[in-house]
């Protein structure tokens, strides 16, 4: 690397980097370091026993599986929602736009109670679904529903601005060059949206993995079936087992970090590919 490439036009790099690191340390790294430090008071056998108990492993599967699935569903439907909000004008559009943010603002416990009331066997939706053999409340499916609810705004809000910047002329040009609708979507629109979609996916996923309040009401919390990992942590805490709780928290942190790293890598890759293409 020569001097010409490291020369920066904007001043204050040292200051802003210092500020960034100090702030990140204070807000993120130090609390997380405390989690790991606490875990080190366990011997490896104890650590392994805490994180590999069958109930805990079952909870990882549910937490990460349902979160990934919920994020994927939100990516598809969130994109459609963003599309409708950006490309069309219709009466009540502003209200719909505001509704998207509601899962952000609502205390998660309220969301959980509302969803449970709705999907319980005697609820509005529950009593329609129950005769069809579909049980939502108090099953893993209920967990999925809650995670979809809380993750939706993340996808819509990341995709929306990118879509708004996307000029309709681009699609018109594609059409005039003989592209079919599907080709226009797949070859012109999707590559531009992909980085934003991946970011939305990552955010929705991260939010879902850590979610506690809304899920706890609708899950039923049956061991080996519908217990999420955050519940395992809370259960351990309530039994005064701090180190066991932090051990599970460590696993969650590392798994989430690894997954987010992969998603961010994918995002960077698609962005680079997109730039090269255009």
């Amino acid at each position: 690397m020569n001097r010409a490439t490291t020369y920066r036009v904007l001043p204050g790099f040292g200051l802003s980097l210092g500020y960034t690191l100090a702030y990140l340390s204070l807000i993120v790294l130090i609390p997380l370091a405390a989690v790991f430090l606490k875990t080190f008071s366990l011997s490896f056998e104890q650590f392994w026993a805490a994180i590999s108990a069958p109930r805990v492993v079952a909870s990882y599967k549910l937490s990460f599986g349902a979160s990934l699935l919920a994020a994927a569903i939100n990516t598809v439907f969130g994109m459609m929602l963003a599309w409708a909000l950006v490309r069309y004008t219709f009466p009540g559009k502003r209200i719909v736009d505001a509704l998207v943010d509601l899962p952000f603002a609502l205390p998660t416990a309220v969301a959980g109670i509302a969803l449970t009331a709705l999907y319980a066997p005697n609820g509005w939706l529950g009593q329609i679904l129950e005769p069809l053999g579909i049980k939502v409340a108090f099953t893993p499916l209920g967990v999925l529903v809650a995670l979809i609810f809380i993750g939706l705004p993340f996808v819509v809000r990341t995709v929306q601005p990118v879509l708004a910047d996307l000029e309709t002329e681009l699609e018109e040009a594609a059409a005039s060059l003989g592209a079919q609708r599907w080709q226009t979507f797949r070859l012109v629109i999707l590559p531009i949206l992909l980085p934003a979609l991946l970011t939305g996916f990552a955010l929705a996923f991260a939010r879902a993995v850590g979610e506690y309040g809304s899920v706890i009401f609708i899950a039923g919390n049956i061991p080996m079936v519908s217990e999420i990992t955050p519940l395992m942590i809370i259960t351990k805490l309530e039994q005064y087992d701090y180190t066991g709780a932090t051990a599970i928290a460590c696993v969650m942190l590392l798994l989430s970090f690894a997954l987010l790293l992969v998603i961010n890598g994918l995002q960077a890759w698609t962005q680079k590919r997109g730039e090269k293409g255009s």
Binding site: A120, F138, T235, Y240
Partner: protein, 336 residues
Amino acid sequence: MRFCHMILRAGIALGSITAAHDVVADATILNVSYDVSRELYKDINPAFVAEWKTQTGEQLTINQSHGGSSKQALSVVNGLEADVVTMNQAPDIDILASRANLVSADWSKRFPHDATPYTTTSVFLVRKGNPKGIKDWNDLARPGIQVIVPNPKTSGNGRYTYLAAWGYALTKNAGSDAAARDFVSKLFANVPVLDGGGRGATTTFTQRGVGDVLATFENEAILIEREVGADKFDIVYPPLSIEAAAPVAVVDKVVDKRGTRKQAEAYLRFLFSPPGQDIIARHHFRPRDAAVFKKYAGGFPAIKTFTVHEQLGGWAKVQKEHFADDGILDQIMVRR
């Protein structure tokens, strides 16, 4: 905006400490208690404040904090400055002694009846007319019955139900632990939803319409019948159940630091006095005072009960064998 604000405030209020009085006071004490004692202390506190005022002339303010019993104990261990703790199971006070030395180890000797001013017991609440014919604990383990119980790991209420079932099975099977384990496994295989606390289980059974029977404290069952509707539910008393005694203690370290020992001790003594016992009985807890019990005997059907101490060898043993990690409860839950 205002609507959002309201929801937010409701959310905050859920877990927060509520001041009972706005009066400027000479002294304040904080009572950290379990989840469903809210209504009881709402009546106890003004009565004691009035009595304290006439006795000493001091205007006392009593603040309340409520939540899951074990969670509350944990908050006190972590530094919540409770002058007194009023819990529903002894382990939640023992932990204050063993973990943080906040309470002296002989706390149960400081007040009468092992420092438990009242008891309740585990009973069944069933749908009106008892369509599934539930009469005793063995009906709860029948195939096809759905039982609602809060999680025994996190809820004192669920813990007592679990121990009641265990004690019942011991009596029926000449003290065989293997038979008791088999019975309790069958019972918990019938649990479709595990709530974290007693009130959560109440909501699941009464509002969501899940389950054939709710196993809960007698006082909670009576409250549901009164508040939600006697036309919807019936209370069933099994012939044998567990005595759930609610322990209280002064938090020595805190009262010595804050200089509130006098008030805190008088407050807890008030619970054992006839006026205090009367309020307790009106909230459907079984009072210790024989005269008060007699006065309200109509509300407390005779039921044979055993204590954790006499039937199950005491809390320390139960805690270690049943509720510790990989204890019997964990094994039962994983192999359902």
